[in-house]
């Protein structure tokens, strides 16, 4: 840390002597009718500005000499002009941008996919978050490579930030942006100001991966009425979207409203469905030349049938890499057992205050609330209803005899395989049989055996964000802000469907059946709520667990940008305070003394510092260096040992530390635009939590039960090179290329802290042997080479050839411990061992895909009509694993090393997206 500070000071003093020889550049952007255009991204050198409601932009710190100025606006042709900066206050006057007729909305709207970790459904949207105008690499990474789950520099989404009017919309629990909150509102949330990586922004201190500020101000939306219909075979089939924007009206009001629906009874993956709506309203009132007030409210109620990963054995047996175990037939209709149902509206009130020409203050008060839940099957004293449970697979017949060296009966294996291939009721969930089992048990007065439960999170969040932009003089620009966030979530299970009927009403007892088994004869231990013992649960009742998470945080940040003729630099500092605690609403039988009521409060104080410099060799060549060091409080779930049932936390709580830097060389010519960057980021003391069913036999002294497994003190290194370039061959044809070669690895042997959720055995610890293992979550190497055609007579076309490589599977830490091998028959040099010790998990052969898109627009009188067609993965590559995880469950001793293999998700094969839009 001391080193970092020293470095910052050095950068500061070493450059302060530089003479102030830069220029400013001003202009107004209009459409061809001369109406001012708000929200146009103007790239000057390596900086991006956005035009205001009057279409005005003003760039500062522009180097003398030739500079490229690029104007980017969705639905308009990108315009690049070369400006010879030769006076201190350059005025460009009015710059017209040509409408691309109807919108050429980016047709490759990234598919929404789901990644599921064991027993936990997590949504991970891959988004065009980092869209940073005019950077070929960023544009390729967000639109083309994201289909292969590529994440720039291998960073998790929690290191990116999405804001609206300066208020961050990241979920305080996961740190990740809640993309689903504004799903289906593409028109209304289209305008973003983004920065990539560590580059400074003026509305936020920034994060490791990048920051986007979505501009929802009604006055910044293009005046239009627009309707579109899209047809796709990805996650939904139909999308209808209608948007209406008044633009700034004479009375000082501006209004934007948008609504959409996305519908699909069967997505690309069978059994997934989509039933989503979205609404958006933004009203802005310009009070006078200094004050504007904006209110925005939006929401996106959505129900979606989810996909689950499966093992390669199943995919190979069925010849289908898109097998989805989550669904089955009920009365001949497809029913998905995992349905995500969310509706989390956001309300924002913003105040834009132009204190003076040089000082602007933006303040946003936001409130979000709502619910998100995911259903799942639950069962009591009954066979596992999931069709791909390991004991139902052909491999089980071999694995069960592993200990005694007995292989399975070949005829039985053949018969099981054949049933899997030919019988829907074996391959998928047999809902009818679950009902039948319930009927018979209810008839004899017993508890219902199979139910559908929903894990629900209800949250409410109040946030205040304010930031000030102050142009102190032509060399110094200060940005600073304050954020306050008060968050609460209520987490519980609710009975969704008792799977009863025909005049019978089932019931469910609120006890934990694993504890009933583990603490035989102790009737208190098994109670989920001692305040309501043996409670009878009916449809709609809360049960299982019920607790609140409170997270309050605040931060203060400031960033100074210093601009001189050949050198720009910045320094920034941020201080963050975080406090969280748990409140239990049930008195759990396993933890009667530490489950009910509030836990201790845990407070963290973090800081972050960043600095960087741009050396402007000429107006066309730049060298950029960024450095940042930050500490980050652990997340709530990294700290609480078993938040569903108890207040206790890890004995040693670590704060994460991140040290990151990148060095770029940027070239900007009218026909050639390129960037090459080398980056390195070190993560220290990270935590990872997994929750799984621990099998007993092999490891001495352990018992079969659910455990929470905390890997703490993880060190990682992400290093690599990024390249992006765009070459204009002729005015309507460009070559676009971008790619990244990375090396993201674990660099130490962290420790695991193991806690039995039921408290069956005392907590213990293990060392994880994962040094030099690859980090999962993204292909470490990916690239795309494309041709961009257009506009020619309102035709546009793109073709991209993409390569993905080194996409490693998420390893299960508990498999990399000495305990996992206790008493096993595995020996040094055993082929089965390689699968466990090899850091290159799973097959990550390079994968190739090809994307094509074409769009055409027409203008008939005052009506613009646009048609887009995009086809992804034209060559139908169905062999690309986009993500996967090893199962944590193991029993090397009894069943061998291969009994619980990894589960994978495959990238979609050939998909299309066809959209027609009308705008007036």
């Amino acid at each position: 840390m001391k080193k970092t500070l020293l470095l910052l000071l050095l950068v500061f003093f070493a450059t302060s002597w530089l003479s102030a020889q830069t220029a400013s550049l001003e202009g107004v952007v209009t459409d061809i009718t001369g109406s001012p255009m708000a929200g146009v991204s103007v790239n000057v050198g390596n900086k991006t500005y956005v035009t205001d409601a009057a279409g005005k932009f003003s760039a500062t710190g522009v180097s003398y000499g030739k500079t490229e100025v690029t104007f980017v606006m969705d639905g308009y042709e990108t315009k690049t002009m070369s400006v010879d900066v030769n006076s201190a206050a350059m005025k460009l006057g009015y710059v017209q941008v040509k409408s691309a007729a109807a919108a050429t909305e980016n047709p490759t709207e990234t598919s929404v996919s789901t990644i599921e970790s064991e027993d936990e459904v997590k949504d991970q949207y891959v988004s065009g978050l980092l869209h940073s105008a005019n950077d070929p690499f960023v544009s390729i990474a967000s639109y083309t490579l994201s289909a292969g789950y590529f994440r720039p520099r291998g960073y998790d989404n929690e290191y990116s930030e999405v804001m609206i009017s300066g208020l961050a919309l990241n979920d305080p629990e996961t740190g990740r942006p809640n993309f689903s909150d504004w799903g289906g509102l593409n028109d209304a949330t289209h305008y973003k100001e983004s920065s990539y990586g560590l580059n400074p922004t003026r509305y936020s201190f920034g994060t490791l991966s990048g920051t986007s500020d979505i501009d929802v101000r009604a006055s910044h939306q293009r005046k239009q009425i627009k309707a579109s219909y899209a047809f796709s075979n990805r996650t939904y089939q139909h999308r209808v979207m209608v948007t209406y924007s008044t633009g700034m009206m004479k009375n000082g009001w501006a209004v934007t409203a948008s609504a959409s629906t996305r519908q699909g009874s069967n997505g690309y993956v069978k059994g997934t469905f989509y039933d989503a709506y979205a609404y958006f309203l933004s009203v802005e009132k310009k009070i006078n030349s200094k004050h504007s007030i904006s209110f925005t409210g939006f929401g996106s109620p959505a129900k979606r049938g989810m996909q689950a990963a499966a093992t390669q054995e199943v995919y190979d047996m069925l010849g289908d890499n898109y097998y989805n175990p989550n669904w089955g037939y009920q009365n001949g209709e497809i029913r998905n057992s995992k349905v995500r149902n969310s509706h989390e509206p956001v309300l924002l009130l913003s105040h834009f205050y132009d204190i003076s020409d040089k000082i602007k203050l933006t303040t946003t008060l936001g409130y979000s609330f709502g619910r998100s839940g995911t259903t799942a099957l639950n069962w009591f004293n009954s066979a596992d209803p999931r069709p791909d449970y390991y004991r139902y697979l052909p491999s089980w017949l071999d694995n069960m005899g592993y200990l005694n060296g007995i292989s399975g009966d070949p005829q039985s294996i053949e018969a099981v395989t054949s049933l899997w291939q030919n019988d829907q009721n074996v391959r998928q969930i047999n809902w009818d049989q679950l009902y039948q089992t319930n009927y018979l048990n209810v008839l004899s007065g017993k508890q219902t055996r199979y139910v559908v439960e929903e894990k629900v999170m209800n949250h409410s969040q109040l946030g205040l964000a304010s930031h000030l932009n102050y142009e102190i003089n032509k060399n110094i620009f200060f940005s600073g802000g304050l954020n306050i966030n008060i968050y609460k979530s209520n987490n519980y299970k609710v009975m969704n469907d008792m799977l009863d009927g025909n005049g019978q009403t089932g019931y469910w007892l609120d006890i934990d059946q694993f504890s009933q088994r583990d603490f035989l004869g102790d009737s208190n231990k098994a109670q989920n709520d001692l305040n309501n013992p043996n409670r009878i649960i009916k449809k709609g009742d809360k049960f299982g667990y019920d607790y609140d998470i409170h997270i309050n945080s605040g931060n203060l940040w400031g960033l100074g940008e210093f601009t001189y003729n050949h050198l720009d630099f910045y320094v920034g500092l941020k201080l963050t305070g975080t406090q969280f605690w748990r409140v239990g609403n049930m008195k759990n039988g396993r933890y009667p003394e530490e489950s009910y009521g509030a836990s201790a409060k845990h407070s963290f104080c973090d800081y972050a510092a960043k600095a960087g410099a741009t050396y402007k060799i000429t107006g066309r060549h730049y060298v950029v260096l960024n450095l940042a060091y930050s500490t980050m409080a652990p997340s709530f779930s990294d700290v609480y040992l078993a938040p569903r049932v108890r207040n206790a936390v890890l004995p040693d709580i670590n704060t994460r530390k991140i040290f990151s830097g990148d060095l770029s060389y940027i070239i900007r010519y009218p026909k050639f635009n390129a960037r090459i960057t080398a980056f390195n980021t070190n993560f220290y003391d990270d935590t990872k939590v997994i929750y799984y069913y621990m099998d007993a036999a092999g490891a001495t002294g352990l018992k079969e039960s659910f455990v929470n497994y905390f890997v703490t003190g993880i060190d990682k290194k992400h290093q690599g090179i990024e390249i992006g370039l765009e070459v204009k061959i002729i005015p309507v044809l460009s070559v676009v290329a971008g790619g990244s070669i990375g090396n993201y690895r674990y660099t130490n042997r962290p420790n695991a802290y193991i806690t039995y959720e039921s408290g069956l055995l005392p907590d213990s610890s293990q060392q994880i042997y994962c040094k030099n293992f690859f980090v999962s979550g993204s292909p470490q190497t990916a690239g795309s080479l494309g041709l961009k055609f257009g506009p020619m007579k309102y035709w546009y076309a793109n073709i991209n050839a993409n390569l993905f490589a080194s996409n490693w599977v998420d390893f299960a830490p508990n498999r990399r411990t000495t305990d996992a091998f206790t008493n096993t028959h595995l020996y040094v040099g055993d082929p089965a061992l390689t699968a466990i010790t090899d850091p290159k998990l799973a097959n990550a052969n390079p994968q190739f895909t090809l994307d094509v898109s074409v769009s055409k627009s027409f203008k008939i009188k005052n009506v613009y009509i646009g048609i887009n067609l995009s086809c992804s993965n034209v060559l139908n590559n169905t062999k690309m694993i986009t993500s996967g995880y090893e199962q944590a469950r193991t029993d090397f001793y009894t069943y061998g090393a291969d009994a619980f293999p990894a589960k994978y998700y495959y990238g979609f094969g050939r998909t299309y997206f066809l959209m027609a839009s009308v705008r007036l």
């Binding site: 209808v240 629906t261 519908q263 039933d275 709506y277 009920q330 005899g401 099981v416 009927g501 025909n502």
Partner: protein
Amino acid sequence: MKSFSVIRKIWVLLLIVPALFLAGCSKNFDVPPVNVPMFQLPDGASVISIKALKNRHTVLGALDSINDNVYVTGIVVSSDETGNIYKSLYIQDTSGGLLISLDATSLYNLYPLGQRIYVKCQGLFLGDYNGMTQIGMPYAGAIGRISGVLISQYLFIDNLPGAVPAAKVVTIPTISPNDLGTLIKLENVHFVEVALPYADAAASTNRTISDGTNTLILRSSNYATFRATLLPDGTGSITGVLGLFGTDLQLYIRDLNDVVGFDYSSQIILNEPFSASVGSFTAVSVAGAQTWTFSATYGMTMSGFSGGANNANEDWLISPSVNLTQFNTVKLSFSHTINKGVVGNMMTNHTLWASKNYTSGDPTLATWEQIPITVYPSGADWTFVSSGQIALPASYEGQANVHFAYKYLSSTSESATWELKSILLKGTHN
């Protein structure tokens, strides 16, 4: 009114879109009807009796494939709901009972008690596991379980579950091989290991059913939900499915409702096996350096012999406070052995005491009354003997704070070793 028209347009827009699809995809699934299965014997198939099927297995240890298209039918008489019977299904017809070996749990959901099922035998195998004939699939050259996924290809249910056939009442000596795999009932029998759990925690356990002369093994699984329940005193009837292991007949109960009669009135007040630790007891040394110590093998042990010499000791092993306000006829039993001392001093150096006013600490400060131990071991070997049922004097009934204690004495001339386990205090609830 321009602003009015704006608002109107917005409303129209917000209403149109949901209306477009409102009736779209929201699903309400129909509840499946109650299915009353009716089994139809396929053409060309015939039903044979269970006895006839089992008779095809004539050579012990052989694996016999069933190649002709025959079925057997029977009523389910077993249940794995409590976990005592595991991956096994027993059906019986009037000719006998059949054990079907299945690689699946919670069979009671699909094949409940009283359910008539048909078994398609073609493709299955007959064999025996330690003499017990069963139908299944091959495993390592012998009979094994039918894969869980394949069960539905061989077992077919017919109609809703009905009555379970009445268990055949037998006496232990009259049990015949024909009773194997069927439900039998023994009357007027008792358990030999009264107050021990049905099964130990670590493994399936054999207990002994006795009619006074003859005995039969009761085998229970350590995974059974009633595993820790203690075997009751007295006599009663026991119903269960009859199995065979080698030459041993074994009875499996389905659940505790199979154990009827018996004396459930006496309750366990204190159960201290000394199997894992000193438990709720307290060791207090009044004199001498040696103390009561716990041994996983021998229970609580005390000896004054140390460093190759006899040492004088007075050491007490004191029970926790027991509340007898609601009990009468309180009896204590335990298991002990004494060795290496002077046998003639055994009954003075190893004594049992009771107190109504002891609280904690030094026992000599409280009032103790000696309770005679009725059964002592030989004093010259390591054989554990049961103390028998030692009645506590009636004066202790109704007392809220009763302690009892084992008092050990040794001298510099002799020091025996006393080992104690399985302490059980029982009483009849008022």
